[in-house]
């Protein structure tokens, strides 16, 4: 506590900061890659056996010749260290290995599936933000029935299982009422329901955070002095409070990515959408480890990227922040 103001002064030159961020990012990805590799090794049972049967659809032991062939093909017969080295080298060349089931490069599979997922995630993120901010701006901190309702609604949305909500939305608005298409494909209109299903939950979380901060900031002296200058209540909310309230929300966006990807997997399955979700679930139920670990690696990379963006945004919004 004493003199801590002096202690806390740790500011860095943006470039130094950037370099450090890149480095730590690389470390994270590397660690994720190692994790991905380990997953493939700890897989119980003979990998070769699984590969053969998953693809042939046969059950029971395969001939030792077949196994040997597979082991040679995937290099399972080499010592772990060698395999690890190879795996890392592959990754450097953008090669995430080959799917056991589909016999196509994992990188390609993910590449062609991740697009829709990311579109969905980003759309949901934006919508969630929109909902959270608008509701907060107009309702939060006002002592009326609406703000209470809003609060409860947010808690509800933040808790309700997204896949369940999605199913209901699908059946109600697409199958029964026919307002939205059942098979959205990648058309904008088809994006509406999945996005909502994903965004509503998130907007609940955001709303909570933003709103708490909003009400807190609303009591700050600088708000009072703004009012004292003759500023209207809405003006104060818009010009002064909102920006502050948004800060914690921005930091949340990094965390939100993870949540969104998790949600997207479920939502895509519900809406039978193209995307990582279907692929991952299929891969999981057929033990197609390369795909799963590939996804792990990619999402780690994404996370690093996003959190970098988040920090930069934060810095733009709040110049007081020191880059650390």
């Amino acid at each position: 506590m004493m003199g801590s103001d002096a202690v806390r002064i740790v500011v860095h030159h943006p470039i130094v900061w950037f370099a450090r961020r890149i480095f730590s990012g690389v470390v994270v990805v590397w660690a994720a890659a190692t994790f991905a590799f380990l997953i493939q090794c700890v897989l119980p049972g003979d990998r070769a056996q699984i590969i053969i049967n998953v693809t042939s659809g046969n059950v029971g032991p395969a001939s030792s010749a077949e196994l040997a062939a597979i082991n040679a093909k995937y290099g399972f017969d080499q010592p772990l260290a060698v395999q690890y080295g190879k795996y890392m080298l592959q990754i450097l060349h953008g090669d995430l290995g080959e799917s056991y089931q589909q016999h196509r490069p994992v990188a390609a599979i993910i590449a062609e599936q991740i697009g829709p997922t990311i579109v969905l995630a980003i759309a949901a993120l934006l919508i969630a933000w929109l909902i959270a901010i608008l509701t907060t701006l107009f309702i939060a901190g006002r002592d009326n029935i609406w703000s209470k309702l809003l609060n409860d609604a947010q808690v509800f949305l933040a808790t309700v299982p997204p896949y369940w909500l999605a199913t209901i939305l699908l059946v109600l608005f697409a199958v029964k009422l026919g307002i939205f298409p059942v098979i959205g494909g990648n058309s904008p209109i088809g994006l509406v329901l999945p996005t909502l299903a994903l965004a509503l939950e998130l907007s609940g979380f955001f709303g909570q955070v933003v709103q708490n901060e909003f009400t807190r900031v609303l009591e700050q002296p600088f708000v009072t002095s703004a009012r004292a200058r003759g500023m209207s209540d809405f003006g104060v909310r818009l010009r002064h409070v909102l920006r502050h309230a948004a800060l914690p929300g921005i930091t949340l966006s990094g965390w939100a990515l993870g949540k969104l990807l998790s949600g997207a997997i479920l939502i895509e399955v519900v809406f039978a959408r193209q995307g990582l979700g279907g692929v991952l679930v299929a891969a999981t139920s057929s033990r197609d480890v390369p795909i799963v670990s590939g996804a792990v690696l990619i999402s780690a990379g994404l996370f690093v990227l996003v959190s970098l963006i988040v920090d930069l945004t934060y810095r733009v919004v709040d110049p007081r922040i020191k880059l650390t």
Binding site: G3, V11, S225, A226, R229, G230, M231, G235, V317
Partner: protein
Amino acid sequence: MSQGRPQPVPQQPDLLTVDSLRVSFGRGIAENTVVRSISFSVRPGQCLAIVGESGSGKSVTARSLIGLAGRYANVHARQLRFGGTDLIGLSDRAWRRIRGTEIGFVLQDALVSLDPLRRIGKEVGEGLILHGAVSSREELAQRVIALLKLVGVPEPETKAEQRPHQLSGGQRQRALIASALALDPRILIADEPTTALDVTAQAHVLALLEETKTRGKALILISHDLAVVSHVADEILVMRGGEVVERGNAVQIFKDPVHPYTKQLLDAVPSGRPRGSRLSPSTIVRSPARQTQLAVQSPPKSGPILLEATSLVKRFKGPDGTLRAAVDGVSFELRSGETLGIVGESGSGKSTMARMLLALDEPDEGAVQFAGRPWTTLAERERRARRRSLSIIYQDPLGSFDPRWTVGRIISDSLSSDVETRRKRQERVIELLDLVGLSKALLDRRPLELSGGQRQRVAIARAIAPNPAVIVCDEPVSALDVSIQAQVLDLLGYLRDHLGVSYLFISHDLSVVRHISDRVIVMRRGRIVDSGATDEIFRNPQSEYTKSLIAAMPRLVRDQRIGHSATILEEGIA
């Protein structure tokens, strides 16, 4: 221009009239009245000061004058007129037309009173835009610069582009005032405008306020500090528990206050009082038992050297990554039984030094000796046994208590381990509470359930519990109201005399330091600029810095105002 203050012209009409103002929060049974029937009026070129301690309802009064008492506040008044307009039941729209244009409002601590995310210029100019006082960007820019100049912010062009955290406290406060003055309101209400500031900055701001007053503005000054008020106020309202206990001409009140509370407040201000004299009327209870026990261990003053710091240096990484010395070659010694005051403005490195004395931070260079033996150079485990003979009292006692612990546990936790049996410890705890003037009823209270004064007393009890030789007091009273501050200071004095501990008394408040210390060290930017016996320092300070500090030091003016304000104003604007 101390004399040049234009006397209010009699026939000039009241600008603001308040008749039996009553403010309460909540409704029905939950209703809680915080301001009861207050009446006053202000004329142009006149300053009304509302003085009171926290919870006296002074701020609420101020806020109800601009209709910002809060959403849940119920404001009633027989009359509440501003110029021609009746402020009672004014629509929000109408209020907005008055705020800023007719009535300017300044809150304390501009760090939080200016939007930390927006540029100074925007904040200052906001009022201008809101009320359509400017037609073009250029005009706005010019007006803003002019305003900043007016309030004496140096190099306004650059400052206008900066954000609050980049300005010094003084500059911030001025900028805030500028934003209030932007539309040239006829009345300015300032709520604790100087509280968070260093002495010099404080003086500058006061001077600025006085100057605005002389420009014919009406001024309502809210403060807990009589000394501050005494320079500017023409008329004073002393509030307590939501009521006016005394009201009258400033000179009058300072000369011979009528109401006991006013007296008490005046006495509580250390400056201009003989050193060491009792500040608070409250008598500290003594049980004869302890008297005898204490009498034994009352040692002679200025005994052997207890704590000796030799050329201490502590560096931290600065904003540009370069090392900045927070403490730069400081040496001093503290003798047993004496009180060494360390004065300095924020950032002078006094707190950092305290940490080193307590061996919480390793000094980069130099060392501290304690009781003639090495201290900072020891390994922590060797130090532990001796730590208890060196305790500390923090500025913020609340933060220094585990919120989950009871007062009893907190104190007994710091009792030296040689008090074995539970009963002994328990007795000792109660004894200590009694010693610091607290009843044993507080034993099972938790810190959050205590008042500020009680907390600081508990903190003191904890500090003296292990019978330390030295107590480091880090701004122990700067968070307290004057009257409480007085009591605590008295208590500290009393304990020193009876327990023979030595204090290392750190404060930014010269009057307090002067009141309690035998010797004083003045620090600036990590160096000692002045040191010596208290009277010496205050009678003829050596360094310019000390001089300016003492000059800036607000002191009660009982008969004649000592007009240093003008000079300060100049250097402020320069």
